[in-house]
């Protein structure tokens, strides 16, 4: 099977305040339907790696190929469109746009893609909200939701365009235990339906539940762990 994501010899430097080699020759593939987690200590470069993969950071050496498309050296507008269509994001902080309702938050990337008419985008958004159990809050302003609820809505938003890959940057990092488990359950459920998911986490319980763990240290991959999920 062709990998859905392929990272080849990624090198990245920080120049401020001094030149610092933050990623050292990182190479790995992700298979379709894989639930992958990247772990490591603070400052090991795992978040930096995720932002390279997310196409938002384009200042690196090496090559990234996703869904059969080479992404290195593309224009910002191309990458924006690619993110819109193929990637879903779940962040640690700053989940939703506070002025908009829950439903509108989920709909926005779908409206941007413009693949379906607005009416259908709304139906799909409701469907995604039902999937994560937030359908009752559809009309509520996003600013009125709790952190855990917002994070679940953020997952629904990541799903709206049926992305090739969902990327999470410490998706449970800012949540309490119950909410963390809730969010993890949703990810696990999505993974079982064949959704490719890459998350960066330092939550060992979360990582233990994923298919594969990439462990990083000092900008290098030091180990792979395959978890056998029963």
């Amino acid at each position: 099977m062709n990998p859905v994501l392929s990272a080849q010899h990624l090198n990245k430097y920080f120049y401020d305040p001094d030149k610092f080699h933050v990623l050292r020759d990182v190479t790995f593939d992700v298979q379709p339907g894989e639930f992958l987690s990247i772990v490591g200590k603070s400052g090991c470069g795992k978040s930096t790696l995720l932002y390279l993969l997310s196409t938002m950071d384009t200042d690196y050496e090496g090559q990234i190929t996703m869904a059969g498309t080479k992404l290195t050296g593309r224009s910002q507008d191309f990458l924006s469109h690619f993110r819109n269509e193929h990637l879903g994001f779940v962040f640690q902080f700053h989940f939703l746009l506070p002025e908009f309702s829950t439903l509108q938050n989920v709909m926005l990337p779908g409206l941007k893609l413009g693949k379906y008419p607005a009416k259908e985008v709304e139906e799909r958004a409701m469907e995604k909200l039902r999937l994560i159990g937030m359908a009752d809050f559809a009309r509520k302003p996003a600013s009125k939701l709790s952190g855990g609820q917002q994070q679940r809505v953020a997952i629904a938003r990541a799903l709206i365009n049926d992305p090739t890959i969902i990327m999470g940057d410490e998706p449970t990092g800012n949540l309490d235990r119950a909410n963390s488990e809730n969010v993890f359950a949703i990810f696990r459920d999505l993974a079982s339906k064949g959704q490719t998911i890459i998350t960066v986490t330092h939550d060992s319980d979360f990582a233990a539940g994923t298919d594969r763990i990439i462990e990083m240290s000092d900008g290098q991959i030091i180990a792979y762990h395959e978890n056998k999920i029963q």
């Binding site: 978040s47 932002y51 997310s54 938002m56 950071d57 910002q76 507008d77 924006s80 469109h81 690619f82 993110r83 819109n84 269509e85 990637l87 994001f89 962040f91 640690q92 902080f93 700053h94 939703l96 746009l97 506070p98 002025e99 908009f100 509108q104 926005l108 990337p109 409206l111 941007k112 893609l113 413009g114 938003r157 940057d169």
Partner: protein, 416 residues
């Protein structure tokens, strides 16, 4: 770029901060309202002054200047000698335009000429009992003069026909008549510079609304004035000309001067002070208006800048979920344009209201100008201009913050 979704986001942002939106709008509103009021008023004043000056004065006046310097005979004979001449008197010359009527008829046939009125104008003293006032008396052909100055409309009392039928009739400016304490039907003694006197009967009064005219001028029949000055019936001192297009008067005047070799004065030269005043007022209006709009622009710039800074996390999320730079620019530019456009429209309404109030405000200019309220012009082009300026200012003021917003680096924001 997807305009409808950018509009939707912009609308949500505007509605979420209603008070801020309103304040930004009011900045534009105030600027435009003042712009409209100022320009309507200033242009009204300009138009009024220009109209009254142009209506009361000929486009071209042709006359013979008598006080020409001439060298003494000895100077002509010995140009480089040491010549002393005491008490040299000017040559006895008449102010007459030779063949004045023929010249007038010829000019009248020229293209672009509305009317020509040959006349005899002289200084005069008006006596009514103990009251003595100086003024001018113009001997005119009433019909020709009426064609130039629409005297029928200017008459306050009496009639023009009375002047035609009465050889001793006199029509005088309203202020002059008031000062002399005479009405239609009263008699006035007129003394000319050469010492002759004649009793004329007032058959009408006129008002041009210009103090210098209404205060001094009077009309009598052409033969009457010729007789008073003891001149022959072909004696003419001035030819007044009105053109269809006032701007044509300037080159036409120059041409007349070379053709007939008499002095000509066009309206622009005669009213230099009014035209200079108009230029200064125009300049002032535009400087103040542009200042107001720039201040309003900076207000919008500030508020848009603050909005962008407040929304920087949202911008990062939007960019992460696939909105490109043009979308972000559109979102914030639409907000700026909405503020500019709605604030501008409101400003037009308020500006119209203020101009209207000004136009009904009583204003007493005394005898100098015949107006009862402030002169205000309601011209659609100023409203269009105001809205255009307002929208351009807001687009400029909104563009720079939105470009800044578009360049936000999502990675540095989302890292937390």
């Amino acid at each position: 770029m997807n305009i409808s979704i950018a509009t939707q986001i912009a609308r949500t942002h505007l509605l979420a901060k209603k008070r801020q939106t309103l304040i930004a709008m009011l900045g534009v509103t105030f600027g435009i309202a003042m712009f409209i009021t100022m320009i309507s008023f200033m242009q009204g004043v300009n138009q009024f002054l220009e109209d009254s000056a142009l209506d009361a004065s000929p486009h071209i006046r042709m006359y013979n200047e008598v006080n020409t310097q001439r060298p003494s005979l000895i100077d002509e004979l010995r140009p480089n000698g040491f010549n002393v001449v005491y008490h040299q008197k000017p040559k006895n010359e008449q102010a007459r335009l030779k063949n004045g009527f023929i010249i007038a008829d010829r000019i009248e046939k020229a293209p672009g000429v509305l009317g020509v009125s040959p006349q005899v104008a002289t200084q005069a003293f008006f006596n009514n009992g103990p009251i003595q006032l100086s003024g001018t008396i113009s001997g005119v052909n009433v019909d020709r003069e009426n064609r130039l100055y629409k005297l029928t409309n200017r008459l306050k009392t009496g009639s023009l026909n009375a002047l035609k039928t009465n050889p001793d009739g006199l029509i005088m400016g309203t202020i002059l008549a008031r000062k002399l304490n005479v009405r239609v039907g009263d008699k006035v003694t007129v003394t000319t510079p050469i010492g002759t006197t004649r009793v004329l009967r007032v058959v009408g009064t006129f008002g041009f609304g210009v103090g210098t005219v209404d205060n001094t001028k009077s009309y009598a029949n052409l033969p009457t004035v010729q007789e008073m000055l003891q001149r022959d019936p072909s004696y003419v001192t001035d030819i007044h000309i009105k053109m269809l297009d006032p701007l044509q008067a300037i080159p036409f005047g120059t041409r007349l001067r070379t053709t007939y070799d008499y002095y000509t004065e066009d309206w622009a030269t005669a009213n230099t002070a009014i035209l200079a005043g108009e230029k200064i007022r125009n300049m002032l209006t535009y400087v103040v208006s542009i200042t107001l709009l720039v201040v309003a622009g900076f207000g919008i710039y500030n508020i848009m800048n603050m909005t962008v800074i407040n929304k920087i996390k949202d911008i990062a999320i939007l960019k992460a979920t696939g909105f490109d730079q043009r979308d972000i620019v559109a979102i914030f530019l639409i907000q700026a344009i909405f503020i500019g456009f709605s604030g501008g429209l409101l400003g037009l309404g308020i500006g119209f209201g203020l101009s209207y109030l000004l136009s009904i405000t009583p204003f007493d200019a005394g005898d100098f100008l015949s107006i009862k309220t402030f002169p205000v012009i309601f011209a659609p082009k100023y409203y269009g201009l105001g809205l255009l300026f307002g929208v351009i200012t807001t687009i400029l003021a909104g563009y720079f913050p939105s470009r800044k917003a578009a360049q936000v680096d999502p990675v540095s924001i989302l890292r937390g």
